[in-house]
């Protein structure tokens, strides 16, 4: 095994065998699995968490069947939490029942000379907003139909009046043939935010990891022993490769946890949790297909960006003599990563912004911005590829010039004329 490969293996081994790596991955895996399956988990444990109510209807207008039908058709209606019964008891008896039981709701429907019908509700402790809205909506529907029928309209007239106006959305761009529904944009935003957050944190982790590793070797003077055995170029490459590989392993593990979580979700008894529904909705949208199409580009983009940030972090770490100095010096790098992050979020708000489109071509920022714009249908695949090419070129330039500073920096323990020394190193070949 050559020395560079040995350093890569050692560095990777050190990270993966650490107790922190194991602990954090167990925690993250559990967190993802629990989040995706939270609905099922709640159901498994069971419990009296449903607020059951009995709705007793004292119908003085004879509209109960219609009222009941309207309630059943309401999207918020849950038969397990609300039962409807028509009652013929006296109002006083019913009121007395309601006074003694919090689960009872009494609805009295009467005719109203001014407003066709009116409803009066009696409860012990109040009415929930959902139940109030369902009752109100059902009564409104009855009132509306009664009002329309009093005008002598036929059922087809009523149907025509009630039917919604159709609004077809068509995109005429040559690059995009499929029509995209508005709701897809919302889901696309969710996917994009998840994508941005994951990559943003991975890049930050990479920068800090490579910086602290080089800094540790330098401050302990172990660097002198290492560099006396391995070329500075090989040392930097070993650090870049090991840290990049580690980041990719970590990313793959996150995907694996997501996959395991979704497998468990599919096998679960009850899949109606918010996250489950959301995942199902996302899976059925165009955004997933779009993302799958550009996976190779995303992977190359991600790797080259990781490498660029790894070189920059390594170069900065080589210039510093303590971890405190590195923390200060990495601030501009964090800003650079944050610019990509915030602009990607802003791209969802300022749709079609020319400035954001221009910035999406700038290397180091483009890795989040360009794919985001593409996933949001704001740029074409050609634009994405141009951004990638510019990033690849930038990576080679950063490596070429960064290496010059690195060679000089790793053996420099003085802070005097630091920047002068580094600029001088840039000129040296």
């Amino acid at each position: 095994m050559n020395k560079r490969n040995f350093l890569i293996k050692e560095s990777l081994k050190k990270k993966i065998r650490s107790k922190w790596f194991l602990g954090i991955n167990i925690f993250v895996a559990l967190l993802i699995i629990i989040s995706v399956n939270i609905g099922s988990i709640i159901n498994i444990f069971g419990g009296d968490f449903k607020d059951y109510k009995l709705l007793m209807v004292l119908d003085n207008v004879n509209v109960f069947d219609e009222f009941e039908s309207n309630l059943y058709n309401n999207s918020s209606f849950d038969k397990d939490s609300l039962t409807i019964n028509r009652t013929f008891n006296s109002i006083d008896t019913l009121k007395s029942n309601v006074r003694t039981n919090t689960n009872y709701i009494l609805l009295v429907i009467d005719s109203d000379p001014n407003n066709i019908i009116k409803g009066t509700v009696y409860t012990k402790n109040g009415l929930s907003l959902i139940n109030r809205n369902m009752i109100l909506s059902s009564l409104n529907e009855i009132k509306y139909k009664k009002a329309i029928s009093s005008l002598g309209l036929t059922s087809s007239d009523i149907k025509r009046i009630n039917s919604s106006v159709e609004l077809d959305s068509n995109i005429l761009s040559l690059e995009k043939v499929d029509s995209v529904k508005d709701e897809n944009n919302v889901l696309a935003s969710i996917v994009v935010i998840v994508f941005i957050l994951v990559f943003f944190f991975l890049i930050i982790t990479l920068v800090q990891m490579i910086g602290s590793e080089i800094n540790e070797e330098k401050t302990t003077k172990a660097m002198e022993i290492i560099i006396s055995n391995v070329k500075a170029t090989d040392h930097l490459i070993a650090k870049i490769v090991s840290c990049t590989l580690f980041t990719i392993i970590q990313l793959s593990l996150l995907f694996l946890y997501g996959f395991i979580a979704s497998l468990l979700k599919d096998n679960a008894i009850n899949n109606n949790s918010l996250i489950s529904n959301l995942l199902n909705s996302i899976a059925s949208t165009q955004i997933v297909n779009t993302a799958i199409q550009i996976i190779p580009i995303l992977i190359i983009f991600f790797i080259f960006t990781l490498v660029s940030y790894a070189i920059l972090a390594g170069v900065l770490a080589s210039m510093t003599t303590s971890i405190d100095d590195f923390q200060q010096l990495q601030t501009p790098l964090m800003f650079l990563i944050s610019i990509g992050f915030y602009l990607s979020i802003l791209a969802m708000i300022f749709e079609g912004s020319i400035l954001i489109k221009i910035i999406s071509y700038i290397p180091m920022v483009s890795f989040l911005l360009a794919p985001t714009l593409f996933l949001l249908n704001q740029t074409s695949i050609i634009s994405l590829i141009i951004s990638l090419i510019l990033q690849v070129i930038a990576t080679f330039i950063i490596f070429k010039y960064g290496l010059r500073i690195y060679k000089e920096g790793i053996l420099n323990y003085s802070t005097n004329h630091l920047w002068k020394k580094m600029f001088k190193a840039l000129k040296n070949n």
Binding site: T220, K221, A222, S228, L411
Partner: protein, 298 residues
């Protein structure tokens, strides 16, 4: 043989090493002396290939030192160069593998040296848990684990008690006997004097004195005379060439400029009574170092 030929290295306007040349044969122990900032570390860095000289050349067995030769070089830095989160075995394996050694050989040699330095119980301990002296021993083992042809030691005895210094010196002498070239830097002149066959003194990157210890001492004309007895200080002070007289527990220490002055002193002292000691000694390396470096720094 290590051959350093007319090497120079500058950092901006500062000349760290200026036209330095020396040769060290197989089995020799060579001392590199100098005050802080004299150019020792830069010289070491050039020898092990960390820095390229602006001028001149360094060869080991007639081959220019580069990464193809570094597996045969051992280097112990002045400051700790240990990754303290590692255990002893992990650290030595790491440095050994950087020298292209196989795991079994490294462990075999590590066990041998741990036993020899009486720290075999620390094999699996974290380096940060060890005392300063034991950390120095581990650093020393890491430097010699590859049984190097050329061993460079920058202050190797830092933090060690006299007993352990002796153990390390014996180990180094054994290595020298088996042909290892040892270059050694220390501020402790008694270590250099007791240990080095040849030495060089650097001031501001330049060699001001070099050769074997005997040659250096012979070339240094000044002598130190130790006398115990009743002597006439005035008469002795009046002799030309007497530089200084001090008294330490009834013993007079007379510094003279040459051997002939010592003869004149002896002629006067032999007339005195109750003389129980008269000894002419060479000055210590420390005396020579202080005077030579002092002259150039003035």
């Amino acid at each position: 043989m290590l051959k350093v030929s007319h090497i120079s290295k500058s950092y901006d306007k500062l000349k760290a090493v200026d036209d330095l040349s020396f040769e060290v044969d197989k089995g020799e122990i060579f001392g590199l002396l100098g005050v802080n900032g004299a150019g020792k570390t830069t010289t070491f860095r050039m020898i092990i290939g960390l820095l390229s000289p602006d001028k001149g050349e360094i060869t080991l067995d007639n081959k220019k030192i580069d990464y193809s030769l570094t597996d045969n070089i051992g280097f112990l830095t002045e400051e700790k160069s240990l990754l303290t989160k590692m255990s002893v075995i992990e650290q030595v394996l790491f440095y050994g593998k950087l020298k292209n050694m196989d795991k079994n050989t490294i462990i075999k040699r590590l066990d041998y040296y741990l036993e020899k330095l009486d720290i075999k119980d620390y094999k699996y301990k974290k380096i940060k848990e060890l005392s300063k002296g034991n950390q120095q021993k581990i650093q020393f083992i890491s430097a010699i684990i590859n049984n190097p042809k050329l061993l460079i030691l920058d202050e190797p005895f830092t933090g060690l008690d006299p007993f352990n210094v002796n153990i390390l010196m014996n180990l180094l002498r054994e290595m020298a006997k088996s042909g290892t070239i040892i270059i050694f830097a220390s501020h402790r002149m008694e270590h250099v004097e007791a240990f080095c066959d040849k030495l060089i003194i650097l001031v501001k990157g330049k060699s001001i004195l070099q050769g074997s210890l005997k040659e250096i001492k012979d070339g240094y004309l000044k002598k130190v005379i130790h006398v115990i007895g009743d002597i006439n200080i005035k008469d002795i002070k009046s002799i030309k060439g007497v530089e200084n007289i001090t008294n330490n527990n009834d013993e007079y220490i007379i510094n003279v400029s040459s051997n002939s002055v010592a003869s004149n002193i002896f002629n006067i002292i032999k007339k005195s009574k109750n003389i129980t000691k008269f000894a002419i000694e060479d000055p210590t390396l420390n005396d020579i170092f202080i005077e030579k470096v002092g002259e150039l720094n003035e």
